[in-house]
Amino acid sequence: MTTTVRLRKIGFGALALAFLAVAGSSFYHQRYLPEAVVLGEGVTAVTRLSEYGESLRGTANDIHLYVLEGKAPGGTILVFGGTHAEEPAGRLAAWMLVEHATIERGRLIVALSANRSASTVTRPGAAYPPEFTIPTAWGGQRFRMGDRWTNPLDQWPDPEVYIHYPSGQYLAYVDIRNLNRAFPGRPDGTLTERTTYAFMELIRREHVDVAIDLHEAELQYPVISTIVTHQRGQDMATMVSMTLTDLEGFKIGTEFSPRNLHGLSHREIGDHSQAVSLLFEAPEPFLDATRGRTNADVLLTGKDEFVVQAGKRGLLFETIDEHGWPIAKRVGRHTSSVAQTMETWTEDHPDRGIVARGIPRYKDLVRNGVGFYLRDPAVAPAGRVVYE
């Protein structure tokens, strides 16, 4: 080997190591970026999902559960964001509940990162930003920008075909890492299945009456701006949708959970527990395949000229204009929908009512922005900050 070849090899090797170091550092920082949660006055306990699924202990998905219990007895509602970690409005809406809601009657249980593992990786090759910052009066809060699927570092390899348990239905191979295709799960399955199993155990053991899964969707997806409901929740979802559309200033429809499509929370939670299961979808142009630049700005403003063009050509199932779909509107849709669900549930089930106050609603968030409602961990009372 000549000296020139040796030097060339050393040079390329050093370059590869430099790329590895830069990329590895980025991946590491994204995976371990701490996200502060300031516990609002309404949070009465913080526990872990492994309480309901021992095999999760010590894994990326041994997530926090925030319990807000009222003084008066009533029903129980579970709200979880972060099933798909690249849909940040769901996570941020859950943040609003934990930092601001107070329960007067009944109980609210919140998960901010239902599939925490998915929040520690972005989509390979999709140029997703590793994180995003919500501006606040105290400087801004950083959040991990995740992916739809469990991190392959936590669950790998994928099979050729994913056979859903227990239905036996064949699904896309990658969806074995999709939390919203892995309900109701099993105690000895994959990490994703063990996570959904623990959620099911939580729902069964804590006698959850209503379970709400918060999502966002691309505008080219027909199931958008809607409440997807299990058949036992159809009346409630219809009433919630009509009330929100009339009174809150945004349109939201209802869709029925298909009985023969398995693994989804709105199907399996309702089928395998006593809870009524609902899934809320808000519009997120960032997810549209026809989007232009893929960065944190598009993620938060929801503005994209190419998606607007797609709308002009009649290719979308939701409207969009140059104002986009800002994160405040998307989070506000979710918080108002959760609050309205509690109100409608209470009207129909006075013996198991759930009464909350302090939840920022759609108009509040549109007026003040999301950052206005994020609390500064630096000035939080001692012992009232948790990191996701």
Binding site: T238, M242, D246, T254, E318
Partner: protein, 201 residues
């Protein structure tokens, strides 16, 4: 002289034609809405989720009803019902889940309407989901919403319509042409008041 006569004749013809064109409109007065009676059969023409918007209020008002997504003329022949409310506007997803096509829905609904009219059951056609069920947002070439409306509304004895779905005057035109009473309402939650009045609750 001949020219004057021809001019007069043309004028008379013009006035007559204008009178024929304008008279039906000018003379149209909204017929009174009939009183609806329970029990009620609620169904859709197109498997949309719309019927639930009716049934949640019927339940709250304590009006006896059955919701049957696949109601047929046999349900009417059972003589159990005094009113049938058919919600128009189609859902491809709903039809897919039910394993039916639009032609099946049109045939099923035609059977329900014919049986109801024969047995004196009040037929109310409803369009309560606004422009979202007027082909807005539908896939290219999908006119199932309009087929659903055409199959039900002109044959109904009462129309219940959310106003934003009538922004092009579609239902007003049907009501005028067929002399069908139409009750229009603004907001979703106003439907409860509409049903309350119709059923004398």
């Amino acid at each position: 002289m001949l020219r004057r006569l021809m001019l007069c004749a043309a004028l008379v013809v013009f006035v007559a034609v204008m009178a024929l064109v304008c008279l039906p409109t000018a003379a149209f007065t909204q017929p009174a809405a009939p009183k609806a009676q329970a029990p009620v059969l609620v169904t859709s023409c197109g498997q949309s989720p719309g019927p639930l918007k009716v049934t949640v209020f019927l339940k709250r008002l304590g009006i006896e009803y059955d919701y049957k997504a696949d109601a047929t003329d046999k349900d009417i022949a059972s003589r159990k019902y005094k009113t049938v409310i058919i919600v128009t506007g189609a859902s491809l997803k709903g039809m897919g889940a039910a394993g039916v096509a639009m032609k099946d829905e049109l045939a099923r609904t035609a059977g329900v309407i014919d049986a109801a009219r024969k047995l004196g059951v009040l037929v109310a056609g409803a369009h309560i989901e606004g422009m979202a069920r007027r082909s807005q947002g539908a896939e290219a070439g999908d006119n199932s919403d309009e087929q659903s409306i055409d199959a039900v509304c002109p044959k109904s004895q009462l129309l219940i319509v959310r106003k934003d779905g009538d922004e092009d005057g579609r239902f007003t035109t049907i009501a005028k042409k067929q002399n069908i009473p139409m009750v229009a309402f603004e907001k979703n939650l106003d439907l409860e008041g509409v049903l309350k009045t119709l059923f004398g609750k």
